[in-house]
């Protein structure tokens, strides 16, 4: 057990991995490893957050992330409330800040926020006394997804440093890709992003990654392959000529995997578009750790909730860009 991992947690919010140090990321992963065991018990519950109230504030539809956060909160004995924008006063014209202030008046301890616009969790963190956890904001960050990806890689490979990770898919619109690039590079992995030029942000190299447009090259040297969902809307906006062409050039199928390392890990944040970015052969094959990612998501979110809600008072804006 190294001394570095014992670094104490002081952040009240988790808004992105860009702000975190490698030590802080390791503290979350270490805590998640300890908490994973709780979900294997006959009684899957510990009293650590008894009496705390957590609000899932989802301005964008989500099933797996919301369910995962809700289970994480419940396994720590916290009370949870789910608010979806479609059924809240936001449809009556209330501002986000007013909604948050009203919820705070009900004495809640944490907000788990998802929004289609980048920066909304940060905005809420500036106004809230409660902790704020980013559950995905626009194309900015989705820190808990990247943390569960890091956790899953570490579980299978015992390390992150030195691994070659290729991320293939719609990098431009992906908060998952951004959070993963921050997390992986901080922990010493070598990251390659692979996509058609239209789905790659300009100057993405400045985040410390390699760029390729050749999927075979991305697969060949990789220890880990992360696929991203290709949304059908991208075809309508003419960023890709067609789903079929994308599949031919970037889809992961049996043929493309022939040149892969035998111990390759295949990951996907879900939901998978089978037959587009990933064939069933690969999604269900021995290399796939997609369902491990889902299982680990609960442990990682338990760790994040435990750490931020337990953070000491007096650091209300830590991690928020004011």
């Amino acid at each position: 057990m190294s001394a570095a991992i014992e670094t104490l947690w002081t952040r009240k919010h988790l808004l992105g991995l860009e702000d975190l140090s490698a030590d802080e990321i390791n503290t979350i992963l270490k805590t998640a490893a300890s908490l994973k065991e709780v979900s294997l018990r006959p009684i899957k519950k510990v009293p650590a957050l008894r009496g705390k109230t957590i609000v899932n504030l989802f301005f964008e539809p989500s099933t797996r992330t919301r369910t995962s956060f809700e289970l994480a909160a419940k396994r720590l004995s916290a009370d949870t409330i789910n608010i979806a924008s479609s059924s809240s006063s936001l449809t009556k014209g209330e501002t986000i800040i007013d909604t948050v202030n009203n919820l705070e008046a009900l004495k809640v301890d944490a907000f788990v926020v998802r929004h289609a616009s980048a920066g909304v969790p940060n905005l809420i963190a500036q106004h809230a006394r409660a902790s704020v956890i980013n559950a995905g904001d626009g194309a900015h960050e989705h820190p808990t997804q990247a943390l569960l990806d890091l956790f899953t890689i570490q579980e299978h490979r015992k390390k992150i440093a030195g691994l070659k990770v290729s991320i293939i898919g719609d990098i431009s619109h992906s908060r998952v890709a951004r959070s993963n690039i921050w997390g992986l590079t901080k922990l010493g992995a070598e990251v390659t992003v692979c996509a058609p030029p239209t789905l790659l942000p300009v100057e993405i190299e400045r985040m410390g990654v390699q760029v390729t447009h050749d999927a075979n090259e991305a697969v060949e040297n990789a220890d880990v392959l992360m696929l991203l969902r290709i949304q059908h809307e991208r075809q309508e906006t003419q960023l890709i000529p067609g789903i079929r062409e994308y599949r031919l050039r970037y889809g992961i199928d049996a043929q493309r995997l022939e040149k892969a390392k035998p111990d390759l890990l295949i990951m996907h944040p879900g939901p998978v578009n089978r037959g587009v970015e990933l064939d069933s052969f690969a999604a269900d094959g021995k290399s796939s750790v997609i369902l491990d990612q889902v299982t680990n998501g609960v442990a990682v979110r338990m760790a994040v909730l435990y750490l931020v809600i337990g953070a000491p008072e007096g650091t209300p804006l830590e991690g928020a860009v004011v």
Binding site: E6, W9, S34, P42, V46, A48, Y306, G310, A311, P312
Partner: protein, 186 residues
Amino acid sequence: MNRAAAKPGLLMDAQAIRRSLVRIAHEIIERNKGVQDLALIGIRTRGAVLAQRLAQEIAAIDQHEVEVGILDITLYRDDFSRVAPNPIVHETDIKFDITNKRLVLVDDVLFTGRTIRAALNALHDFGRSKCIQLAVLVDRGHRELPIRADFVGKNVPTQFSDRIRVQLEDTDEIECVKLELSGGAV
């Protein structure tokens, strides 16, 4: 100052610790009429080390292996919101079913009893054991809850502000039990 407490300094050396553990191992076997259905649960960190050693002593005496589990009680503390920054969570590792087992909970020092309270709550979540007994290396008094030990290495009268420092080879490289005053003077 009128101290009705033990003097600061060395309370137990390596040999004294070993003798206490051998005696406790005998007492555990005697009390439970053998090792049938017996299992040891060590409380992290030093209780876990002591539980492993007790298991070895019991095996040496009775020729039977007893199962050993490790319990981390961080998630069951009653001072979660008052301890800052928050304590590190370590893994709980109990690989066997505790239902109908005779459990011996093992810790290094028994003080207020709050750690044991947390451990009892935690064990309750793993199933219904037949009974739970408590073994500690040092009982220093000042209980805040109705809890007592079944097996004690050494009873040490202390002031509330004193500190008992248990060091074991596995975790600390040296092996001894010391009493330190609150001011740090020894």
